[in-house]
Protein backbone atom coordinates (compact mmCIF):
# COMPACT_ATOMS: atom_id res chain seq x y z
CA UNK A 1 0.00 0.00 0.00
CA UNK A 2 2.88 2.34 0.72
CA UNK A 3 4.57 1.72 -2.64
CA UNK A 4 1.99 3.65 -4.61
CA UNK A 5 2.81 6.71 -2.50
CA UNK A 6 6.53 6.46 -3.06
CA UNK A 7 6.61 9.42 -5.46
CA UNK A 8 3.65 11.26 -4.00
CA UNK A 9 4.64 14.91 -3.51
CA UNK A 10 2.90 15.09 -0.12
CA UNK A 11 4.71 11.99 1.05
CA UNK A 12 8.06 13.35 -0.16
CA UNK A 13 7.45 16.67 1.62
CA UNK A 14 6.53 14.90 4.84
CA UNK A 15 9.10 12.10 5.01
CA UNK A 16 12.05 13.41 2.99
CA UNK A 17 12.02 17.15 3.66
CA UNK A 18 10.24 17.62 6.98
CA UNK A 19 11.02 14.25 8.58
CA UNK A 20 14.80 14.50 8.89
CA UNK A 21 14.41 17.73 10.90
CA UNK A 22 12.13 16.18 13.52
CA UNK A 23 13.82 15.27 16.83
CA UNK A 24 14.38 11.54 17.24
CA UNK A 25 11.83 11.18 20.02
CA UNK A 26 9.01 12.49 17.85
CA UNK A 27 9.84 10.77 14.56
CA UNK A 28 8.93 7.16 14.88
CA UNK A 29 11.62 4.78 13.79
CA UNK A 30 10.82 2.14 16.34
CA UNK A 31 10.16 -0.69 13.98
CA UNK A 32 6.66 0.14 12.85
CA UNK A 33 6.10 2.48 9.95
CA UNK A 34 3.33 4.51 11.56
CA UNK A 35 3.74 8.27 11.76
CA UNK A 36 0.50 9.01 13.54
CA UNK A 37 0.78 12.30 15.31
CA UNK A 38 0.53 16.06 15.14
CA UNK A 39 3.12 17.94 13.09
CA UNK A 40 3.77 21.63 12.40
CA UNK A 41 5.78 22.91 9.48
CA UNK A 42 6.31 25.83 7.17
CA UNK A 43 4.91 25.24 3.68
CA UNK A 44 8.42 24.42 2.45
CA UNK A 45 8.71 21.67 5.06
CA UNK A 46 10.77 23.61 7.60
CA UNK A 47 10.27 22.02 11.01
CA UNK A 48 8.25 23.91 13.63
CA UNK A 49 7.11 21.17 16.01
CA UNK A 50 6.05 17.54 16.26
CA UNK A 51 4.34 15.15 18.65
CA UNK A 52 4.33 11.52 17.64
CA UNK A 53 1.03 9.86 18.63
CA UNK A 54 0.09 13.12 20.26
CA UNK A 55 -3.15 12.50 22.11
CA UNK A 56 -2.78 14.30 25.44
CA UNK A 57 -4.34 17.70 25.01
CA UNK A 58 -1.89 19.46 27.34
CA UNK A 59 1.10 18.10 25.44
CA UNK A 60 -0.45 18.96 22.08
CA UNK A 61 -1.31 22.48 23.25
CA UNK A 62 2.26 22.99 24.49
CA UNK A 63 3.72 21.79 21.21
CA UNK A 64 1.40 24.09 19.25
CA UNK A 65 2.42 27.07 21.37
CA UNK A 66 6.10 26.32 20.87
CA UNK A 67 5.55 25.89 17.12
CA UNK A 68 3.76 29.21 17.01
CA UNK A 69 6.68 30.94 18.73
CA UNK A 70 9.13 29.36 16.29
CA UNK A 71 6.97 30.48 13.39
CA UNK A 72 6.84 34.07 14.68
CA UNK A 73 10.64 34.13 14.83
CA UNK A 74 10.79 32.93 11.24
CA UNK A 75 8.28 35.59 10.21
CA UNK A 76 10.60 38.25 11.64
CA UNK A 77 13.76 36.67 10.20
CA UNK A 78 12.38 36.18 6.72
CA UNK A 79 10.32 39.36 6.83
CA UNK A 80 7.18 37.47 5.91
CA UNK A 81 3.81 39.21 5.73
CA UNK A 82 1.23 36.68 6.88
CA UNK A 83 -2.24 37.13 5.51
CA UNK A 84 -5.49 36.32 7.26
CA UNK A 85 -6.67 32.74 6.78
CA UNK A 86 -10.01 32.84 4.96
CA UNK A 87 -12.87 31.45 6.98
CA UNK A 88 -14.08 28.12 5.69
CA UNK A 89 -16.95 25.89 6.59
CA UNK A 90 -16.18 23.11 9.00
CA UNK A 91 -14.79 19.99 7.39
CA UNK A 92 -17.83 17.96 6.52
CA UNK A 93 -16.69 16.38 3.28
CA UNK A 94 -16.57 12.89 4.67
CA UNK A 95 -20.18 12.41 5.40
CA UNK A 96 -21.35 14.56 2.54
CA UNK A 97 -19.38 12.48 0.03
CA UNK A 98 -20.25 9.15 1.57
CA UNK A 99 -23.86 10.14 2.02
CA UNK A 100 -24.53 10.26 -1.70
CA UNK A 101 -24.79 6.47 -1.93
CA UNK A 102 -25.37 5.52 1.64
CA UNK A 103 -27.17 6.74 4.69
CA UNK A 104 -24.74 7.83 7.37
CA UNK A 105 -25.47 7.57 11.04
CA UNK A 106 -23.16 9.27 13.50
CA UNK A 107 -22.32 6.88 16.33
CA UNK A 108 -20.82 8.19 19.56
CA UNK A 109 -19.31 6.27 22.46
CA UNK A 110 -18.81 7.21 26.08
CA UNK A 111 -18.54 5.47 29.45
CA UNK A 112 -21.60 6.16 31.57
CA UNK A 113 -21.27 7.50 35.13
CA UNK A 114 -20.44 4.88 37.73
CA UNK A 115 -21.62 4.87 41.29
CA UNK A 116 -18.75 5.35 43.73
CA UNK A 117 -16.10 5.58 40.99
CA UNK A 118 -14.86 8.80 39.45
CA UNK A 119 -11.74 7.44 37.76
CA UNK A 120 -10.36 4.15 36.52
CA UNK A 121 -7.14 2.50 37.68
CA UNK A 122 -5.15 4.69 35.30
CA UNK A 123 -6.65 7.82 36.78
CA UNK A 124 -8.80 8.59 33.75
CA UNK A 125 -12.00 10.40 34.67
CA UNK A 126 -15.00 8.22 33.89
CA UNK A 127 -17.01 9.72 31.08
CA UNK A 128 -14.51 12.37 30.03
CA UNK A 129 -13.35 10.57 26.90
CA UNK A 130 -15.60 9.89 23.96
CA UNK A 131 -15.20 8.67 20.44
CA UNK A 132 -17.06 8.75 17.17
CA UNK A 133 -17.69 6.39 14.30
CA UNK A 134 -19.99 6.22 11.30
CA UNK A 135 -22.54 3.56 10.54
CA UNK A 136 -23.03 3.37 6.80
CA UNK A 137 -26.21 1.69 5.64
CA UNK A 138 -27.37 1.22 2.09
CA UNK A 139 -30.74 2.52 0.99
CA UNK A 140 -32.13 -1.03 1.01
CA UNK A 141 -30.84 -1.65 4.54
CA UNK A 142 -32.47 1.56 5.71
CA UNK A 143 -35.73 0.42 4.13
CA UNK A 144 -35.55 -2.75 6.21
CA UNK A 145 -35.59 -0.65 9.36
CA UNK A 146 -38.97 0.86 8.54
CA UNK A 147 -41.80 -1.09 10.21
CA UNK A 148 -45.14 -1.55 8.51
CA UNK A 149 -47.42 -2.16 11.47
CA UNK A 150 -48.12 -0.94 14.97
CA UNK A 151 -47.20 -4.35 16.34
CA UNK A 152 -43.60 -5.08 17.17
CA UNK A 153 -41.78 -6.82 14.33
CA UNK A 154 -38.34 -8.37 14.43
CA UNK A 155 -36.09 -6.63 11.91
CA UNK A 156 -34.07 -8.65 9.35
CA UNK A 157 -31.21 -10.53 10.92
CA UNK A 158 -28.57 -9.62 8.33
CA UNK A 159 -28.92 -5.86 8.75
CA UNK A 160 -29.25 -6.11 12.52
CA UNK A 161 -26.12 -8.25 12.61
CA UNK A 162 -24.23 -5.66 10.58
CA UNK A 163 -25.30 -2.90 12.96
CA UNK A 164 -24.35 -4.97 15.98
CA UNK A 165 -20.91 -6.23 14.95
CA UNK A 166 -19.73 -2.96 13.38
CA UNK A 167 -21.14 -0.45 15.86
CA UNK A 168 -21.87 -2.04 19.24
CA UNK A 169 -18.25 -2.08 20.32
CA UNK A 170 -15.96 -0.35 22.79
CA UNK A 171 -13.88 2.40 21.22
CA UNK A 172 -14.10 5.00 23.95
CA UNK A 173 -10.31 5.19 24.30
CA UNK A 174 -9.10 3.77 21.00
CA UNK A 175 -9.89 1.27 18.29
CA UNK A 176 -11.63 -2.06 18.23
CA UNK A 177 -12.21 -4.15 15.14
CA UNK A 178 -15.70 -5.24 14.20
CA UNK A 179 -16.82 -8.28 16.14
CA UNK A 180 -16.47 -11.59 14.35
CA UNK A 181 -19.83 -13.11 13.45
CA UNK A 182 -19.55 -15.81 16.09
CA UNK A 183 -19.14 -13.16 18.79
CA UNK A 184 -22.77 -12.12 18.37
CA UNK A 185 -24.17 -14.61 20.86
CA UNK A 186 -27.65 -13.12 20.68
CA UNK A 187 -29.16 -10.06 19.06
CA UNK A 188 -32.63 -8.85 18.30
CA UNK A 189 -33.88 -5.48 17.11
CA UNK A 190 -37.59 -4.80 16.84
CA UNK A 191 -39.61 -1.91 15.50
CA UNK A 192 -43.19 -0.74 15.35
CA UNK A 193 -45.11 2.17 13.89
CA UNK A 194 -46.09 4.81 16.40
CA UNK A 195 -47.73 7.29 14.06
CA UNK A 196 -48.71 7.95 10.48
CA UNK A 197 -49.84 11.21 8.97
CA UNK A 198 -49.87 11.37 5.22
CA UNK A 199 -46.37 10.47 4.05
CA UNK A 200 -44.88 11.02 7.50
CA UNK A 201 -44.33 7.94 9.59
CA UNK A 202 -42.82 7.58 13.05
CA UNK A 203 -41.39 4.39 14.49
CA UNK A 204 -40.11 3.08 17.77
CA UNK A 205 -37.24 0.60 18.31
CA UNK A 206 -36.08 -1.76 21.02
CA UNK A 207 -33.31 -4.33 21.06
CA UNK A 208 -31.07 -6.52 23.17
CA UNK A 209 -27.66 -7.84 22.29
CA UNK A 210 -24.97 -10.10 23.71
CA UNK A 211 -21.52 -9.86 22.18
CA UNK A 212 -18.58 -11.80 23.53
CA UNK A 213 -15.23 -13.16 22.45
CA UNK A 214 -12.10 -14.38 24.21
CA UNK A 215 -11.01 -10.92 25.36
CA UNK A 216 -14.07 -8.76 25.81
CA UNK A 217 -17.84 -8.57 26.00
CA UNK A 218 -20.69 -6.08 25.66
CA UNK A 219 -24.36 -6.64 26.46
CA UNK A 220 -26.40 -3.56 25.56
CA UNK A 221 -30.10 -2.80 25.48
CA UNK A 222 -31.24 -0.39 22.80
CA UNK A 223 -34.16 2.03 22.53
CA UNK A 224 -34.90 4.52 19.84
CA UNK A 225 -37.13 6.27 17.36
CA UNK A 226 -37.11 7.28 13.73
CA UNK A 227 -39.12 9.42 11.34
CA UNK A 228 -39.75 8.81 7.67
CA UNK A 229 -41.17 10.97 4.90
CA UNK A 230 -42.27 8.49 2.28
CA UNK A 231 -39.28 6.26 1.69
CA UNK A 232 -36.77 8.74 3.04
CA UNK A 233 -35.41 8.49 6.55
CA UNK A 234 -35.58 11.99 7.99
CA UNK A 235 -34.48 11.37 11.54
CA UNK A 236 -33.08 8.50 13.61
CA UNK A 237 -32.16 8.53 17.29
CA UNK A 238 -31.09 5.39 19.14
CA UNK A 239 -29.44 4.90 22.50
CA UNK A 240 -27.79 1.68 23.62
CA UNK A 241 -26.32 0.99 27.03
CA UNK A 242 -25.13 -1.97 28.98
CA UNK A 243 -22.15 -3.59 30.69
CA UNK A 244 -18.85 -3.99 28.88
CA UNK A 245 -15.84 -5.91 30.14
CA UNK A 246 -12.35 -6.73 28.96
CA UNK A 247 -10.61 -5.06 26.05
CA UNK A 248 -9.05 -5.32 22.63
CA UNK A 249 -5.48 -4.84 21.48
CA UNK A 250 -5.85 -1.12 20.77
CA UNK A 251 -8.79 0.11 22.83
CA UNK A 252 -6.67 0.82 25.91
CA UNK A 253 -8.84 -0.78 28.54
CA UNK A 254 -5.91 -1.88 30.68
CA UNK A 255 -6.71 -0.60 34.13
CA UNK A 256 -10.44 -0.70 33.46
CA UNK A 257 -11.52 -4.33 33.06
CA UNK A 258 -15.14 -3.74 34.00
CA UNK A 259 -17.87 -4.73 34.04
CA UNK A 260 -19.03 -1.16 33.63
CA UNK A 261 -21.69 0.59 31.62
CA UNK A 262 -20.88 1.82 28.12
CA UNK A 263 -23.28 4.12 26.29
CA UNK A 264 -23.60 4.41 22.52
CA UNK A 265 -25.76 6.88 20.62
CA UNK A 266 -26.87 6.69 17.01
CA UNK A 267 -28.12 9.85 15.31
CA UNK A 268 -28.77 10.34 11.61
CA UNK A 269 -26.03 12.55 10.17
CA UNK A 270 -27.29 15.65 8.41
Amino acid sequence: MINHLRNDPAKILFTDIYGPQVPAGQWNTRGSKTKQGVYCMMPDGTYLGALFVGVQRDQVAKMLQQSLETWRKLVAEKKLTPLAVPKRAAFQNFHKEEGAEKVLIAVHYRDLPRENQKADQKGRAIGKSWNQNWLKLSRSEITELRPATKSWVVLPEKTVRKIAVTSLKDIVYGQSPAWKDEALIAGKLEARLTGKEGERVTAEYRGTFQLRDATHAYNPTLIGEATWEGEELKNLRWFAAGPRSGGTQYNFREGDPGPASLGISFVLAK
Binding site: P9, A10, L13, F14, T34, K35, Q36, G37, V38, Y39, C40, M41, M42, P43, D44, L48, L64, S67, L68, W71, L80, T81, P82, L83, A84, V85, R88, A90, F91, N93, F94, H95, H108, R110, L112, P113, G127, W130, N131, Q132, N133, W134, Q175, E204, R206, T221, I223, G224, E225, R237, W238, F239, A240, A241, G242, S261, G263, I264, S265, V267
Partner: protein, 80 residues
Amino acid sequence: MKFRQLLCFSTLLFGGANAEPEVGGRSLSEGIKVVRPSVGEDAWQKIGWRDGLLTAVDEAKKLHRPVLLWTMNGNPCGET
Protein backbone atom coordinates in the same frame (compact mmCIF):
# COMPACT_ATOMS: atom_id res chain seq x y z
CA MET B 1 -58.91 -0.64 50.79
CA LYS B 2 -60.23 -2.25 47.65
CA PHE B 3 -60.82 1.16 46.02
CA ARG B 4 -57.30 2.30 46.95
CA GLN B 5 -55.81 -0.84 45.51
CA LEU B 6 -57.83 -0.37 42.35
CA LEU B 7 -56.68 3.24 42.10
CA CYS B 8 -53.01 2.24 42.51
CA PHE B 9 -53.35 -0.54 39.95
CA SER B 10 -54.96 1.85 37.47
CA THR B 11 -52.18 4.40 37.94
CA LEU B 12 -49.56 1.75 37.31
CA LEU B 13 -51.40 0.40 34.29
CA PHE B 14 -52.01 3.71 32.55
CA GLY B 15 -48.85 5.32 33.83
CA GLY B 16 -46.86 2.32 32.56
CA ALA B 17 -48.54 2.38 29.17
CA ASN B 18 -47.47 5.98 28.56
CA ALA B 19 -44.07 5.76 30.28
CA GLU B 20 -41.12 6.67 28.09
CA PRO B 21 -38.79 3.73 27.46
CA GLU B 22 -35.57 3.77 29.43
CA VAL B 23 -32.24 2.04 29.39
CA GLY B 24 -30.21 2.02 32.58
CA GLY B 25 -32.54 4.59 34.09
CA ARG B 26 -32.15 6.98 31.15
CA SER B 27 -34.69 8.00 28.55
CA LEU B 28 -33.73 8.17 24.88
CA SER B 29 -33.10 11.90 25.04
CA GLU B 30 -31.16 11.66 28.29
CA GLY B 31 -29.02 8.82 26.98
CA ILE B 32 -28.17 10.60 23.75
CA LYS B 33 -27.39 13.79 25.60
CA VAL B 34 -24.95 12.14 27.98
CA VAL B 35 -23.09 10.27 25.23
CA ARG B 36 -22.85 12.79 22.40
CA PRO B 37 -20.20 15.49 22.69
CA SER B 38 -21.33 18.59 24.49
CA VAL B 39 -20.68 22.14 23.32
CA GLY B 40 -16.93 22.59 23.26
CA GLU B 41 -16.10 18.92 23.23
CA ASP B 42 -16.31 18.78 19.47
CA ALA B 43 -14.68 22.14 18.78
CA TRP B 44 -12.11 20.47 16.52
CA GLN B 45 -14.90 19.48 14.15
CA LYS B 46 -15.87 23.11 13.68
CA ILE B 47 -12.48 23.91 12.15
CA GLY B 48 -12.23 24.34 8.40
CA TRP B 49 -9.69 21.54 7.98
CA ARG B 50 -8.24 21.07 4.52
CA ASP B 51 -8.50 17.52 3.27
CA GLY B 52 -4.92 17.03 2.12
CA LEU B 53 -1.40 18.12 3.02
CA LEU B 54 -0.63 19.67 -0.38
CA THR B 55 -3.94 21.55 -0.38
CA ALA B 56 -2.92 23.13 2.89
CA VAL B 57 0.66 23.70 1.74
CA ASP B 58 -0.43 25.53 -1.41
CA GLU B 59 -2.69 27.77 0.59
CA ALA B 60 -0.08 28.31 3.30
CA LYS B 61 2.48 29.43 0.70
CA LYS B 62 0.12 32.15 -0.51
CA LEU B 63 -0.76 33.24 3.01
CA HIS B 64 2.78 32.96 4.48
CA ARG B 65 1.29 30.76 7.17
CA PRO B 66 2.40 27.49 8.81
CA VAL B 67 0.73 24.13 8.33
CA LEU B 68 -0.63 21.88 11.07
CA LEU B 69 -0.77 18.26 9.97
CA TRP B 70 -2.78 15.76 12.00
CA THR B 71 -2.34 12.18 10.87
CA MET B 72 -3.69 8.99 12.31
CA ASN B 73 -4.34 5.38 11.37
CA GLY B 74 -7.85 5.30 10.03
CA ASN B 75 -10.30 8.07 9.45
CA PRO B 76 -9.70 11.27 11.43
CA CYS B 77 -13.42 11.82 11.28
CA GLY B 78 -14.14 8.77 13.33
CA GLU B 79 -12.74 6.05 15.55
CA THR B 80 -9.44 7.75 16.27
